[in-house]
């Protein structure tokens, strides 16, 4: 059975379609491994019992025309799932059971997939190491006491540790790509407006975007094909023609022009990251594509801009968690007292920090200097990309400025923690798609990722480039199953 969990999504789909495997076989295998993997703390809530029921039901009358026929999968606990507790990694939603389903997960179930459970994440997706979760740290399957990255840390850990064949995360400033890079898997952050935000617990509405996480590029393309849809229930969803990403996937990228932005060569970046990047450039060339040195001059302003825009929106988005309607409520002397106690007991430190930053930058007298200025810079950052996309088809950068760090290493230094997102954040500010693929290892054997940034709505192109590079890189994740006794 252990064999099953090593298979890619594409292989599992094929084996189910060929009737070599049943959905029940596959579901049981992943549940079995998940149960042995409690030490990873990847799950917040599991739904194993009903998953098996659903798998059996699927096998009785299998619809093999579906894209994810009887495939079990766990999802980040930021997606609202009908009748299944949805916490966003927070105490304040510890008892919250939605009566509705997010559009993205709905799309997944409609294609035949089966929910295994809800995966751990940083509280309200605010974090880069999964250490802000109310439900505790997540272990990186790569090594003990190593963070899996964040905020989709549980998702990354679960895919890398083979507790789920694929998963979905959300990416507001790097929350899919950074953990994908830290755990040696593939993660795609789609164009803003590609996947519906309906039913996803909001962090920063103008940046949030759901995306697939998988063992390889092809699996990622298939899952993206399933989750990307126009949704009238999300006013920022965009109605454009969506590709059959997995079918149209090709490793032929000959003649493509790939930009190498000089501003991503930051001070103090470890040499192994620079080396990885150079290796990536070589792979690109080996695939018959061309690399061009480019400049994205406003890159250095991206992180401060992000840390104004995202907290501003978050401070308002999280106002609804007030103890009045649902979720955790602390007892108070009066309404104000109840608010204060509920929110100071219900939210963790990082969330409170960001609410305070956001409240500050929006307050009268500071709005122009911070929020408005940040919006202007955001426009400049987007213009940078628009300019270079006149010359290149995509951009290649490292995914992160370092490999995964130890649990607790950066918890007392928020700025150093925020710096983790330095390469991923500009993409969210510009609303572009980007994919992180595993491309090598550092001296500890920890995985390192490369990021390919595309033009808006051009996911097919970056998936193709990633697919071509993946073949050349031939990355092997070093999973020792250290956590399984």
């Amino acid at each position: 059975m252990s064999d099953i969990t090593k298979q890619s999504l594409t292989e599992l789909v094929e084996n189910i379609k060929n009737k070599k495997l049943s959905s029940t076989d596959v579901t049981k295998a992943f549940i079995d491994r998940s149960e042995k993997s409690e030490e990873l703390n990847a799950y917040i809530t599991n739904d194993f019992t009903s998953a098996i029921d659903k798998a059996k039901k699927f096998d009785q009358k299998p619809n093999l025309d579906l894209k994810l026929p009887g495939i079990p999968m766990a999802v980040k606990d930021l997606f609202c799932t009908k009748n299944i507790k949805t916490t966003a990694g927070s105490k304040i939603l510890n008892n919250f059971v939605p009566t509705y389903e997010s559009t993205v997960t709905e799309n997944i179930w409609n294609e035949g997939a089966i929910l295994l459970g809800k995966l751990n994440c940083d509280e309200f997706a605010m974090g880069s190491s999964n250490e802000t979760s109310f439900f505790g740290n997540v272990q990186n399957p790569i090594d003990k006491n190593l963070v899996p990255g964040g905020s989709s840390g549980g998702s990354a850990s679960a895919v890398a540790g083979q507790l789920t064949p694929i998963t979905i995360g959300t990416d507001t400033g790097g929350s899919i790509r950074q953990p994908a890079s830290f755990t040696g898997i593939v993660g795609l952050k789609p164009t803003y407006g590609s996947c519906s935000r309906y039913g996803i617990v909001a962090f920063a509405s103008s940046l949030d975007q759901a995306g697939p996480m998988a063992q390889n590029v092809k699996d990622c393309a298939l899952l993206h094909e399933v989750i990307s849809s126009y949704d009238p229930k999300d006013s920022t969803s965009i109605d454009f023609k969506r590709n059959h990403f997995s079918k149209e996937l090709t490793n032929n990228i000959k003649g493509k022009k790939i930009g190498i932005p000089k501003e991503y060569r930051v001070d103090g970046m470890p040499k192994e990251i620079e080396d990885l990047w150079q290796k990536g450039i070589q792979y690109i060339k080996d695939c018959g594509a061309e690399t061009i040195d480019i400049s994205l001059p406003n890159t250095s302003y991206a992180l401060p801009t992000y840390y104004i825009v995202a907290p501003a929106e978050a401070s308002s988005n999280l106002a609804r968690y007030d103890g009045v309607k649902y979720g955790f409520r602390a007892k108070g002397e009066n309404l104000i007292d109840m608010y204060e106690k509920t929110r100071s007991e219900g939210f963790g430190a990082e969330v409170q920090r960001r609410i305070m930053i956001g409240t500050y930058v929006l307050s009268s007298g500071y709005y122009d200097a911070y929020y408005l200025k940040a919006q202007k810079v955001r426009k400049l950052i987007k213009n940078d990309f628009d300019d270079v996309y006149k010359k290149v088809d995509a951009i290649l950068t490292p995914s992160t400025p370092s490999s995964a760090f130890k649990i607790g290493e950066k918890t007392n230094d928020p700025v150093s923690m925020y710096l983790n997102d330095i390469f991923t954040v500009p993409v969210n500010l510009a609303g572009l798609p980007a994919i992180s693929i595993p491309a090598g290892h550092d001296s500890n054997g920890y995985p390192l990722g490369l990021q390919i940034i595309g033009k808006a709505f051009d996911e097919q192109n970056i998936l193709n480039i990633a697919y071509a590079m993946e073949e050349k890189i031939n990355f092997k994740n070093k999973i020792t199953d250290w956590w399984i006794k």
Binding site: S206, S235, T236, A319, L335, Y367
Partner: protein, 491 residues
């Protein structure tokens, strides 16, 4: 206080003060569903039965603009002769309250959907123009109910998310009377447009009233106070009167006025401080990232312009020209769309040989009296426009006298009966046969020989006596004009 030259001034010793008023009217958009959700807006439902997941701000729920409400706001803007902004932006107004589930109200701050416009008021001493600063769309909050339980506050979210238009006037109003006329005019325009039912009892129309005072002749504005959420015109007028006098008293005592938000206590008839400028909320407005800027095309606006019905000002002009009504009469008939509709239907139903003046007198007189006494709107009139028109025609063509018509009208009220039938059934037709009347009058003169002689000798007052006797003898049905003629001849 005096009203010299119809100016509203507040007098203290030798000083006269002018009152400056600006209104922020909150008008509920007439719409089946809410501004950003599909739940119903119907009034009077059981608490919390018209609440969607969006209205209750569940995690991950997103607002989707209701296009109909946008159309309603633009139509209202057109009715206010205002600039329609092709691009407007929804902002979040952030504050915590138990009946505000999102923790913010979606409103429009910097870029409203409608810009500057104007409204013409008909005042006794002539017309007055009141500037409109802007109109924007926003969500209503829910309702906190404090008096059902000694310990707890209950929250009803039925109103949460209902679309409101906030119509902000320029500080152009100068008296409670002008405020009365202004609010009625806004209400009238919106009812014509079908964009707001204007029902103040159900809270469809409320206003924040900004009041300041300044010495007569001064060009500068005084410090203003905002009286929040006043829900009837009468209370607006009372609040202004109280507040203006309070401010004048402060100035007279050498004190200064604090800019603040006040509440009007309807029981004590006074305004009270709610919060000072220092305690004012910092609403942290910023564009709602869940909603894209609202963009409408020229064509979208043009199409709506074509849907705009004849509005009160134009209707009034037409009534004066077409029906030769006095401005006073026209004003009364156009001020409410249903009255205007009724009147125009009566005019149509009266056919060719019509007496419009007579119809107007009867509407303003008899019909309004009946509606008043029964506390009915004209749309609920017990007498249909059709039967009303027949009645007027019966008077006009001499079938019944005005006096008999009143009797007939009384009978019509019960079940909207056809006046023609009433006249026939009750034999109320006017006697206009000169021969029959001559016989009747001969008998009266015969019976009252002495009085006839006195009359001939010069006691002219007795003519009325004979008329009265003749009418009495005919059971009131005799044509009074004929009676007069015959009597004059015979006596």
């Amino acid at each position: 206080m005096s009203k010299k030259n119809s100016e509203y001034l507040i007098n203290r010793k030798d000083n006269q003060y002018e009152v400056v008023i600006g209104l922020e009217v909150h008008a509920q958009v007439l719409s089946e569903s809410k501004l950003f959700s599909t739940s119903s807006t119907k009034f009077g439902a059981e608490p919390n039965t018209q609440v969607s997941l969006v209205d209750a701000a569940f995690p991950g729920m997103l607002p989707v603009i209701n296009e109909f409400c946008v159309k309603q706001a633009i139509k209202t803007g057109i009715g206010l002769n205002a600039k329609i902004n092709k691009r407007s932006v929804f902002d979040r107004k952030n504050y915590f309250y138990a009946d505000l589930p999102q923790g913010y109200q979606i409103s429009q701050f910097k870029d409203p959907i409608v810009g500057e416009g104007k409204v013409i008021l008909d005042m006794p001493n002539g017309q007055k123009e009141v500037g409109i600063e802007r109109l924007h769309l926003e969500q209503d909050a829910g309702k906190s109910i404090h008096d059902l339980d000694p310990q707890n506050t209950f929250v009803d979210l039925n109103r949460s998310g209902v679309a409101l238009m906030e119509i902000v006037s320029k500080p152009d109003l100068r008296s409670p009377d002008e405020v009365n006329t202004y609010v009625k005019k806004l209400r009238s325009i919106m009812r014509y447009l079908g964009t707001c039912d204007g029902n103040m009892q159900e809270g469809s129309l409320r206003a924040d009233v900004n009041v300041s005072v300044r010495p007569k002749g001064s060009k500068e504005f005084g410090t203003r106070c905002e009286i929040k959420n006043v829900n009837s015109i009468k209370f607006m007028q009372m609040a202004i009167e109280y507040e203006a006098n309070r401010q004048v008293d402060l100035i007279e005592e050498g004190k200064t006025i604090d800019q603040e938000t006040r509440l009007f206590d309807t029981k004590k008839n006074e305004t009270r401080s709610m919060r000072s400028k220092e305690d004012a909320h910092d609403y942290r407005y910023f564009p709602d990232p869940d909603l894209l800027p609202l963009e409408v095309s020229e064509k979208f606006i043009e199409d709506l312009k074509n849907e705009i019905p004849e509005l009160p000002d134009d209707k009034k002009k037409r009534f004066i020209e077409e029906f030769k009504l006095s401005p006073y009469e026209a004003n009364i008939l156009v001020s409410d769309i249903d009255t205007a509709k009724y009147f125009e239907e009566v005019v149509t139903k009266m056919g060719k040989n019509k007496d419009i003046k007579l119809a107007v007198n009867w509407i303003i007189g008899e019909l309004f009296a009946v509606l008043n006494s029964k506390d009915l709107e004209i749309s609920q009139s017990p007498v249909s426009a059709r039967n009303f028109a027949i009645l007027i025609n019966l008077i006009k063509n001499g079938t019944i006298s005005g006096k008999i018509a009143k009797t007939v009208f009384e009978l019509m009220i019960d079940g909207d009966k056809d006046p023609q039938k009433i006249v026939e059934e009750k034999g109320l037709k006017q006697q206009s046969d000169p021969k029959a009347l001559e016989v009747l009058i001969d008998k009266i003169i015969d019976d009252n020989r002495e009085k006839a002689i006195e009359y001939k000798q010069g006691k002219e007052k007795l003519f009325g006596f004979f008329v009265g006797q003749a009418m009495k003898a005919s059971g009131g049905k005799a044509n009074p004009q004929l009676i007069n003629e015959i009597l004059k001849k015979k006596l």
